[in-house]
Amino acid sequence: MLSKPHMRPASLPFKLSPQRKPFTDIVGLELGAGLAQGVPAVRLRKRGETVELLAAGFLDLPDALPASAEDASTAQSVTWQLPKPFRAPHAALAVTSKLSFLRHSGGTAEDAEKRPSGFRQTSRVTANDLPPLIAGLPEFQAAWAARLLPEGHPPTACSLQISAAAAMSGFSLTPSFTKAPGCIIALLVFPEYTSLAAFQERHLVLYREYPAGTAHIRNAISAEMRIDGALADDVLEDTLVDPLPIIEPVLRPLFRQVEVSVDFLSRRRNCPVSHFFISGLTAGTRYWSAIFSRMLNQALTPCQPLEGLVNAAPAAALPADLNAAEPLLMAAAGAARTVLEDE
């Protein structure tokens, strides 16, 4: 693990660990998503090998990340109180920040010197012959997020992850992933970018981010058809208008990169990709699949973030249209699922 520079609060000279046993009841929260619906939240409980969904939805809480250390110091007094259905003992936080990063390390001394200062970083080796994957978040944002949930009131933070990492880890725990053999590529679509994660025999061997997300599609449709964003999503779902000519220029560079990655995996790692998954799309999945199929001559299989969970939630603890909301819960669910499975 790389260094994690951060300020230490006043504390006892020795560490009193609040909990060391595996977590069994976790609420996942995505901070900084900036959704109109609210803060994505998913509460999961593990019973044996089964993971149950206890609550899911969007919470009306202020989740705008501080843009600077000064903002963080003024916003330090803000704390959250979660509604009762989401009041698990512990919380896994996924942070969506424009300042965060998730990438493979160059593995060289020069690369180490290029590490940004004032960032909290962590890394993990995903494959023995590859450089480790590094996640980083500005220290002031990490400290702010960690103090949102005060001590002595459930939940308290037990994990802080980058949204892209949480979503990717969550995807790696879905049945679609675990049952698919061989080499797999997953496209995790966020509003501002799309993550490409390639797995060989369950191990992450390639991670890239490309600046093409749902917001770009929505903006392209809005600009072309001169409609607002909400209506653009309706266009993607309706069959009255064919938006393919509008969104293809946006998606083509992304899928071209996927094509390059497939070629790289096939040639360099002798790993022909057999399955392609996509997750995080709120609308227009069929257009993404159509363009993908046309360009790569491969099927793009949608994968829902809550796939494989046993629904044990009362109706009141779920959004009215869970299927429609599910892609927006990708990071929150992934963060919670990752902690539950991390023994």
């Binding site: 951060h6 909990q19 936080l93 990490a142 002595g152 980058i162 880890s169 902690v339």
Partner: protein, 218 residues
């Protein structure tokens, strides 16, 4: 299954307990309280030990000071017991005293004229049997002492034999039974006096053993 992609940025200092009872606050408090309670407890024990040691020393000095007086008291108690035992023995002897005087004063009235007493003796009591080490005595058996008085005399004249017999009967009469419970002439103790020649052939010598009332040492 271990999640290989858990890239956790949370610092250890930021992992808090959700329990309202804060362990990191309560644990030091409980530790400090435990230490304080232990110290107070040890202090109390030390104080008690110190107090007990002081009391022990004081008592020791007092005991040393009272030792001569205690020995004096013990000696006096022993003397008192000895004197009490002597007094009790004296009382026993007083109670066991036999009054021979009145009876002996009456005796001349019952003695015929031809009888002369040559000896009147109260026989000493027989010695006690030697103690048997295999069967020790479990009780005091010396509370009674048999007393025997022996009358030795001579009778002369024609009726000497009947006079001795009269004397024997007199000794058994109610007037003298206050002292003598029985009187008898032992075998061979009634004989002719041959020691002084022919002149004394009509003189008879006799002995009468009178069993007196027992002496009761009570």
């Amino acid at each position: 299954m271990r999640a290989p992609l858990h890239l956790d940025l949370l610092s250890d200092d930021e992992r808090f307990s959700s329990s309202p009872v804060r362990l990191r606050v309560m644990a030091p408090l409980i530790s400090i309280l435990s230490v304080l309670v232990s110290l107070v407890w040890w202090g109390l024990i030390a104080l008690r030990i110190n107090t007990a040691a002081g009391l022990r020393d004081t008592l020791k000095i007092e005991i040393d000071n009272l030792k001569p007086q205690h020995e004096t008291i013990l000696r006096l108690i022993a003397e008192e017991k000895e004197f009490s035992a002597s007094l009790r023995q004296l009382a026993f002897y007083r109670n066991a005293r036999l009054a021979f005087g009145d009876t002996l004063a009456l005796l001349p009235e019952y003695v015929p004229e031809n009888i002369q007493f040559t000896e009147l003796r109260v026989l000493p009591p027989p010695p006690p049997p030697p103690p048997n080490p295999k069967k020790p005595e479990l009780r005091n058996t010396n509370s009674l002492e048999n007393v025997t008085a022996r009358l030795i005399g001579r009778a002369s004249g024609e009726n000497a034999s009947s006079s001795v017999n009269d004397l024997l009967l007199s000794l058994r009469s109610p007037a003298l039974t206050n002292l003598f419970r029985s009187a008898e002439i032992p075998k061979g103790a009634f004989r002719q006096d041959v020691a002084r020649g022919g002149a004394s052939r009509d003189t008879l010598l006799f002995e009468i053993n009178c069993t007196c009332l027992p002496r009761r040492f009570e």
